[in-house]
Symmetry: C2
Subunit: 158 residues, 2 copies
Amino acid sequence: MTILEQIDKINRQLTAKGYKLTSQREITLQILLENENDHLSAEEVFMLVRAKFPEIGLATVYRTLELLSELHIVEKMNFGDGVARFDLRDDSHAHMHHHLICTDCGLVKEIKDDWLSEIEKRIENEFGFKVTDHRLDFTGSFNNCTSGDCKRKSKAVS
Amino acid sequence: MTILEQIDKINRQLTAKGYKLTSQREITLQILLENENDHLSAEEVFMLVRAKFPEIGLATVYRTLELLSELHIVEKMNFGDGVARFDLRDDSHAHMHHHLICTDCGLVKEIKDDWLSEIEKRIENEFGFKVTDHRLDFTGSFNNCTSGDCKRKSKAVS
DNA sequence: ATTCATGCAAACCATTTGCAGATCA
DNA sequence: TGATCTGCAAATGGTTTGCATGAAT
């Protein structure tokens, strides 16, 4: 699916709920799509959006991210560094979206693998709990990480 | 291990690093031990501690929790409700500490089961990443949860 | 004496909100 | 026209920090 097709799909989701796809929202979506693996903070999204749309206000970015979050279009997450971070949600990867967080250099590597479907079934049976989403983060360090000087394949979280 | 024995053990960990077990810190530890499964926020810890030690300041509680967190005596976590929550860490359960978060009533149920040891081995082999800790939270809902009126076995997170 | 710890109040900073004007259906 | 949306600035609220005092070795 191209970026335009994705935006178009999201546009339909928005209008279905009575929301409008304004220029501000469209550009915010573009930024999120262009940085799909980066776990951007609201401030970072704001700066990137402002480069294309200087009049935008920070509050609008927060409101957009909040809205997209409620509609489950983006996922709001927290790595414990005091800021919320956002990622576009890819439904096909709902059960395959985990993180390796390196405590030496701060790198956050995203890994996609289906590890939990089995466990989720057991949870439903054993606890009577219907899982709609999960979060699985590992902290530790990369064997080849020379503290603070990792090859950064993803956005680092200080 | 009794509470006193646990405090004694932690006292040794503190003095080993040059920190003192002050009355404030001891009472804070007591509160954490008495509420081991409750995921208390700093404010909640503060209120409980103040009941036993009215002169204590909120900043001291924050500093104590931060200290214990750095020493890996408590675990600092975040369920996305805007406040940090704290739990005493039990090393024997390091790999068996997960959460079921009910989106209907806010209940956070803690479950202890060893699901990830296997996966952690695979991560070390496949990614060259040595796991020291992890976090596994499931969101969803309990089948018997009549929204907002769950049997609360644990501390709810609004 | 020196180092560490505390309480208080002020500062900080990410996020939210009130409001008046702009935009879209 | 009425609803939604935006930008700005102010408010909020959890957390941190500066500083002078207090405790412990």
